[in-house]
Amino acid sequence: MAKFNLKVNGKNKEVDVDPATPVLWVLRDHLHLTGTKYGCGVASCGACTIHLNGKAVRSCQLPVSAAANLEITTIEGLSEKGDHPVQKAWLDLDVAQCGYCQTGQIMSASALLKSNPHPSDADIDNFMSGNICRCGTYLRIREAIQTAARNTAK
């Protein structure tokens, strides 16, 4: 066990855990931020996507020891009132079915738009293909990302 200072959604949080613990489980079990989902534990589904210093990473493969003092953003901190352009577009397009993967999809999508504000459909498909949606909402996700891009550009 070791103590780590984490910067989660702009707040400092100290946790005392095994240094190998993935950030996913620190968020979920220790900080009770459960918007970041467990889906596979092998970085193959994207449900656990967070932002680390603004970039999308799979938190299930990120040991807490490697994340100390870096800026972690989770879905709970993406926007104060749930009104990030990507979240709003997700509601406009009524994207979700079961909803379980959608927080990971939204964290990937918001990271994509930060690095590529006007993605083509092919850009979206490439960037988002690490995020599985078992319900098959891919078309709505694509459209929502394009909508968010348009609304951000305005």
Binding site: M1, D18, T21, P22, W25, R28, D29, H30, H32, L33, T34, G35, T36, K37, Y38, G39, C40, G41, V42, A43, S44, C45, A47, T74, I75, E76, G82, Q87, W90, L91, D94, V95, A96, Q97, C98, G99, Y100, C101, Q102, T103, I106, D121, I124, D125, N126, M128, S129, G130, N131, I132, C133, R134, C135, G136, T137, Y138, L139, R140, I141, R142
Partner: protein, 751 residues
């Protein structure tokens, strides 16, 4: 379904109790003992809500809460079921809040999410619930104004007396209305008067989903809660021999290691009590990561499981189930199924004299189709929270069928039914998997044993390797063709491991004078369960591929040929018990033909395939347009036509059909769990291929047949025919027929 009159005739049970908030609450006496207190996401405090019927609560300032009875797994009944109530209630949908009901069958009657039945079976019940509450509000206004109730109207949560130009909100009338009896009989609206149903409404939980609120069982947390994981054999056909927990118990955060038997010795299983591995090792600790690590330190010995015979009480009565010993492999499965195709099999249906027709045939078209086991792979792996004490057995669980698991929990936990409370958490996918709730028994037993609240967590690997799969299937279709190029007989023979997919009375039964259907099964120790449109999800693809090839063989357009057969089934049906409505079948084919521009020349090397199917009370047809790029298919567009009767919420319904199309394309191309020596070879998403963004169609267009038929299901019907439409489009694009799922295997070989 059950007799819902019951709900309205038990007025003697009504009781009115004063609440501290100043409002009145009306309820049924049997509710009192059945009220879980924990809620995942609370709304307005209960005391402010005035309850009118079991489903409707109103605040004095005119907020309306509607309880959604059925478990939610992404089919969005949490929006559509309350919409049905709100329509009859004449509520202002913008002022309606929806809350997921807890498990309470006396109050909510039908809390079953499966078989595409939620809306179909809830339709009358929910309309009556809304209409009853409205009638009570109208009566309260009539009493207040001393005018006949017939002079009143209601709209958007307000009651009007136009003659005297008076109005009162539902909120203002709620307390008085709650003291009135629930009417015995109420008049329901005419469909032409619907104003909310048929309009597109957003998912009522959308905001909670996009902000990451704790909606799911895996998100549930309670003070003092421990985390449990189980360890089961790595291969089907094995069982626990012994274990040594010494090293695991030394690991940080670990509290307990023990073993459990899920079903008691001698317990007679019900149809959904699937037994994959009955004897499990359990590791309990403080956190998920600690338990995961400790599991790796367990020294466990497995041994071969002996052959077993168990009595199972299913819907078709009790029957003995053979669970063979041995370690099974996919290669052997295929070999065994091909051998069964050569042996005589039980006849499921026979019309005319198919043997004579085949003997006289000038040409016989014979094709064999197969499909592998499929894991459901819900994005949220299996989990369950349980806290079982002497006072109560409390569960937060992802269950499609809480009423099925109730007697199982009662029997195997040894608790009275009156102490059982189940909070129906939003499920991260279901697809049939969560109709088999062995995990609730497991969590309950663990909580009992450790005397603490516990959350049972399956890893992805646990989830994917734990059975309850879509069975593996094979079927052979044969057509006798005479010298005039007429099809004179159809023979369907097939089976599966350990269940077959032959629906002998479905189309094309009824369309051929000579028809024979035979079916067989092979027992297995690999467990199976319902998977989105059970049986149909295989047979539709096979049948629709065969009809496509048959139409081509006799020189007919595939849509026109299907319609021709359906016309015959309509005007002069062969045999009895034909299980489809030929007119509605033709309806979706004609709609998809029109909307896809079928038959018109296309550009850009687009190749197309069509398929249609009927199951779960609804009709679906798809046209798939695809191109080939580097030897791989690119789905340019799918046009879908659906007849599910009246569409309650076009937004959710369209999303559902789109999802079924993507799911179907994914499973047709990539789905398949491979076994070697009893062990699933893929255990996680880095080994098991799921459809991803870049493989999804570029466009999906969904069209609904417009009619006023009472709504039927939508979760399943659009799924099965997409397999056939894909196979047929792939044929047009590659010149090769695709007979064995997943199609990617053949594409890779060709590549």
């Amino acid at each position: 379904m059950g007799n819902d009159k019951n709900m309205y005739s038990r007025r003697s049970f009504l009781k009115v109790s004063s609440l501290t908030g100043g409002g009145m609450m009306i309820g049924f006496s049997w509710m009192a003992s059945l009220k879980p207190t924990e809620v995942l996401a609370g709304t307005t405090a209960a005391a402010e809500w005035i309850e009118l019927t079991g489903f409707v609560k109103i605040t004095p300032d005119n907020l309306i809460k509607i309880m959604s009875p059925n478990p939610e797994f992404g089919q969005n009944v949490i929006t559509s079921m309350p919409m049905i109530i709100a329509e009859e209630l004449d509520a202002d949908w913008k002022k309606v809040v929806v809350e997921q009901a807890d498990f309470n069958i006396p109050k909510y009657k039908n809390q079953f999410s499966g078989g595409s039945q939620s809306i179909r079976q809830g339709w009358q019940l929910l309309r009556k619930a809304g209409a009853s509450a409205k009638a009570m509000l109208l009566q309260a206004a009539a009493d207040e104004w001393k005018v006949p109730v017939a002079e009143l109207t209601a709209s958007q949560g307000v009651v009007y007396h136009k003659a005297s130009n008076r109005s009162l909100t539902y909120g203002a009338l709620a307390t008085a209305a709650s003291k009135l009896p629930i009417p015995e009989k109420v008049e329901l609206k005419k469909t032409i008067d619907f104003s909310l149903l048929g309009t597109a409404q957003k998912n009522v939980e959308g905001e909670k989903i996009v902000t990451g609120k704790p909606l799911f069982t895996l998100d549930y947390h309670q003070e003092g809660m421990l985390i449990a994981m189980t360890i089961r054999p790595t291969a089907f056909g094995m069982q626990l021999k012994s274990y040594d927990a010494t090293e695991a118990l030394k690991m940080p955060g670990i509290k307990h290691v023990f073993d459990i038997k899920v079903y008691k010795e001698g317990y007679e299983r019900a149809g959904f009590d699937t037994r994959t591995f009955n004897h499990l090792v359990v590791v309990v600790g403080n956190t998920t990561w600690e338990v995961m690590n400790a599991r790796k330190k367990m020294a466990i010995q497995w041994e071969p499981m002996p052959e077993k015979k168990e009595m199972v009480a299913g819907w078709g009565g009790k029957k003995e189930e053979l669970i063979p010993a041995g370690l099974e492999s996919s290669a052997d499965h295929m070999k065994n199924m091909r051998a069964m195709q050569k042996k005589p099999a039980p006849v499921l249906r026979k019309d005319g004299n198919p043997e004579a027709a085949f003997a006289k045939a000038k040409k016989v078209l014979e094709r064999t189709y197969s499909a592998p086991f499929l894991p459901h792979n819900t994005m949220e792996p299996i989990s369950c929270f349980a806290h079982v004490t002497d006072e109560r057995a409390f569960f937060v669980a992802p269950t499609q069928v809480p009423d099925f698991i109730r007697p199982t929990l009662v029997a195997n936990l040894g608790i009275p039914a009156s102490k059982l409370e189940i909070q129906l958490a939003r499920m991260g996918g279901g697809f049939g998997r969560r109709a088999y709730c062995h995990y609730m028994v497991e969590a309950g037993l663990i909580s009992q044993k450790i005397k603490a609240p516990v959350k049972l967590v399956y890893t992805r690997e646990d989830d994917m390797t734990n059975g309850v799969y879509r069975p593996s299937y094979m079927v052979t279709y044969k057509a006798a063709i005479d010298e005039k190029n007429n099809v004179t007989a159809i023979h369907i023979k097939g089976g599966g491991i350990p269940d077959n997919a032959i629906h002998a009375n479905r189309f094309p039964a009824g369309a051929f004078d000579n028809y024979l259907a035979e079916g067989w099964t092979i027992p297995s120790n690999i467990t199976i369960g319902a998977f989105r449109a059970p049986g149909s999800n295989f047979i539709a693809g096979a049948e629709q591929s065969f009809l496509d090839e048959l139409a081509e063989t006799i020189g007919k357009d595939p849509i026109d040929y299907r319609i021709e057969l359906l016309q015959k089934a309509k005007t002069s049906p062969v045999g009895k018990n034909n299980d489809y409505d030929a007119d509605r079948y033709i309806g979706v084919l004609e709609l998809v033909k029109e909307k896809s521009g079928w038959g018109k020349p296309n550009t850009k090397n687009v190749r197309r395939g069509v398929a249609a199917y009927f199951c779960h009370n609804s009709y679906a047809a798809h046209v798939v347009d695809l191109t080939m790029k580097n030897g791989q298919p690119v789905v340019e567009k799918v046009v879908s036509a659906m007849d599910c009767g009246l569409v309650v919420n076009p937004e959710g319904a369209t999303n559902m059909v789109e999802g079924a199309v993507v799911d179907g394309i994914g499973n047709a191309l990539f789905g398949g769990l491979v076994f070697e020596k009893g062990e699933p070879k893929q255990k996680n998403f880095n080994q098991y291929r799921m459809i991803r963004h870049r493989e999804a169609p570029k466009k999906i267009e969904v069209h609904f047949v417009k009619n006023n038929i009472d709504p039927t299901g939508l979760g399943e019907p659009p799924f099965p025919p997409i397999f056939g439409a894909m196979a047929n489009a792939l044929y047009k694009a590659t010149g090769k027929r695709f007979y064995d799922q997943p199609f990617q295997n053949a594409l890779d070989k060709k590549g």
